[in-house]
């Protein structure tokens, strides 16, 4: 790991991932909007099966980092390596196919489509038949559609939503919409999943369930998960590594314990202590 300034740390990668190459590596990533530096010198390694957290005060640039990683915004500076692939020049859909999936802070479901269809959009590249195949309804069409429908149902069962397949996504309750968005992202077969405030608007019991499920997803699919979250109980409870962002810069990296006792972090959240 490179130098971690201003706070030294042993890094974020958990012990079990040390041997395998990192899934994602952001190198001196930065973006300017007009003259404003929104994110600068964002430097991070994420382990193969790590659950990591990106925290920081409102307006620190956390969602902007996700937007950079998924190329919703093109970075002004820096490199994003996904495994050994450089994502320079890729657009959002190519980055997704390369292995970064995400959810959105303000839920973005396909509201007029059913729950199952939402997941099946995520499975788009898992299904292979071409347009003529669809028009002439070749046997492959039927087989693959059926398989995709089954797979969508299986994936929905992670959140116990397998019986909601035929409901319009827009008609789901709020918490279920957030969960569906996670399943849809998971359906794109990512190597890293970015969750933007997955627990926003959830009650404590829902949050507790979500924490379990995030860990379960990581264990079952063996992928890395990075999340932005304001609920410190969730972050400290499941994250193995945490990066703290303030004014577009990483001010601290480390394990939950290290972050909690870090004076720089406390200052960023609560302000400087009067002398």
């Amino acid at each position: 790991m490179s130098k971690l300034l201003p706070v030294p740390s042993r890094g974020m990668i958990p012990e079990r991932d040390i041997e395998s190459p990192p899934v994602l590596e952001a190198i001196h990533l930065g973006v300017d909007f007009g003259g404003l530096v929104a994110v600068d010198d964002f430097h991070l390694l994420i382990g193969r099966t790590e659950i990591s957290g990106l925290i920081g005060p409102n307006g620190a640039g956390k969602t902007t980092v996700f937007n950079l990683l998924t190329k919703v915004y093109q970075p002004t500076r820096g490199t994003i390596l996904l495994g050994d692939k450089d994502t320079a020049g890729m657009n959002t859909s190519q980055v997704c196919r390369a292995g970064i999936a995400r959810t959105f802070q303000n839920i973005r479901l396909f509201k007029d489509m059913t729950v199952a269809e939402n997941v099946m959009v995520g499975l788009h590249h898992d299904i292979k038949y071409h347009i003529p195949g669809a028009i002439f309804r070749v046997p492959g069409y039927w087989r693959q559609e059926k398989a995709a429908r089954g797979k969508a149902k299986d994936m929905l069962s992670i959140f116990n939503m397998q019986d909601m397949g035929d409901i319009k996504a827009g008609g789901l309750p709020y918490g279920a919409q957030r969960r569906l968005e996670i399943v849809r992202a998971l359906a794109t077969d990512p190597s890293i999943l970015l969750l933007d405030e997955p627990a926003a608007g959830m009650n404590p019991s829902e949050t507790a369930e979500l924490m379990e499920n995030i860990t379960k997803i990581r264990d079952v699919y063996q992928i890395a998960i990075m999340l932005i979250e304001h609920d410190m109980k969730l972050v400290m409870g499941i994250c193995e590594g945490i990066a703290v962002l303030n004014y577009g810069k990483i001010i601290a990296k480390g394990t939950p314990a290290e972050i909690m006792s870090n004076p720089v972090v406390v200052e960023a959240y609560l302000g400087k202590k009067e002398a």
Partner: protein
């Protein structure tokens, strides 16, 4: 649909639809041939069919892709002229060669649609509407003046392209409508259709799901142009004389009105409103002074009281209708089926 009381096997749905298709086709062809339906009404029905294809094709771009092109008449014009020029050059049996003429019309429009789509689809919302309006008008002006540039007779400009073989009849219009419905339906009920609808619902999310949005937008736009070209080719063979002024901005608007009035994203809506808006002015011929006023008033009133169009985005499913009637659930009050309707399956 939420209530999955009847799970009709897929093959049965297809069999039902195929049977309905042949019954309607055979029945109506018989009626036309035996002159039970007069030539006058046959002509109106054919015109309805052409407008159905136009509305269905625009519905791909507006209803499914969520864009608002205002130059659809331009694609229709391209199809009409390409097919007409080809058909005029044919010396033997024009009716036998007409399918090729229709295809040429469709492909020409699709090709230009593809070329226009690349720059146009970079824009969104109102700006896409405006740029397609611009392209539509340019196509019209080019058709009007191309002869003076090329120096030989090609489109005959304002003097009109005359003596086009009148090959459009009930038979081939019916087939084209059925094929259009079938192709649009099968594409929309596939992974490609889902991708298209996903872009309409939320473009950023679709992209984040790995959907190549540029590809699907261009594809949808091209497909939309293709069927507009097919409709144009049928129109050329129906009317026999083409003049660029028939394909102005107002024609584009007329098609758009059919789609919006029927309900965007609803094929049955497009079909019903295309029929109504074609047949109504014909029926109101006796009050010809007032019919356009009635037409425009109707438009405003429907929009004020039912902004989502008559059918919303409801789509008709013949097999689920039969299933409902057969089952215990309450049958739909409207059991009328459109003659040109190749029933929709609805999973």
């Amino acid at each position: 649909m939420k209530q999955t009381t009847n799970k009709m096997p897929m093959w049965l749905r297809y069999v039902i639809n195929i049977i309905v298709f042949f019954v309607l086709f055979g029945g109506s062809t018989g009626l036309v041939n035996s002159s039970i339906i007069s030539t006058y009404y046959t002509r109106i029905i054919v015109l309805c069919g052409i407008n159905m294809i136009l509305a269905l094709s625009l519905n791909i771009a507006t209803g499914y892709l969520g864009q608002l092109p205002l130059g659809h008449a331009g694609f229709m014009a391209l199809g009409a002229y390409a097919s007409a020029i080809f058909m005029r050059s044919v010396t033997v049996s024009p009716s036998a060669i007409f399918p090729l003429g229709i295809l040429i019309g469709g492909v020409t429009a699709a090709f230009v649609g593809f070329l226009i789509g690349i720059p146009a689809l970079r824009l969104k919302g109102d700006y896409l509407a405006i740029i397609t309006l611009g392209f539509g008008e340019i196509i019209r002006v080019v058709l009007l003046n191309i002869d003076s540039v090329l120096g030989f007779k090609f489109t005959y400009g304002a003097a009109s392209l005359k003596n086009i073989p009148k090959t459009t009849n009930f038979f081939n219009t019916f087939l084209c409508v059925a094929i259009t419905c079938f192709v649009i339906h099968t594409i929309m009920k596939s992974r490609h259709g889902r991708a298209t609808l996903a872009i309409r619902d939320n473009e950023i999310a679709a992209e984040a799901c790995g959907i190549n949005t540029t590809y699907y937008k261009t594809f949808g736009f091209t497909l939309s142009a293709f069927f507009a070209g097919v409709a144009g080719a049928l129109y050329a063979g129906y009317i026999g004389v083409l003049s660029p002024s028939a394909f102005g901005f107002m024609k584009s608007i007329e098609i758009l009105v059919m789609v919006v009035l029927g309900g965007m994203g609803s094929m049955i809506g497009s079909i019903i409103s295309a029929t109504a808006l074609t047949a109504l002015p014909e029926m109101l011929r006796a009050f010809s002074q007032y019919r356009m006023i009635a037409y425009s008033l109707l438009l405003v009133i429907v929009m004020i009281f039912k902004p989502t169009g008559l059918m919303g985005n409801y789509d008709f499913s013949l097999s689920s209708l039969i299933g409902k009637i057969g089952g215990k659930s309450k049958p739909k009050s409207k059991t009328k089926t459109k003659p040109e309707k190749d029933g929709e399956t609805n999973e």
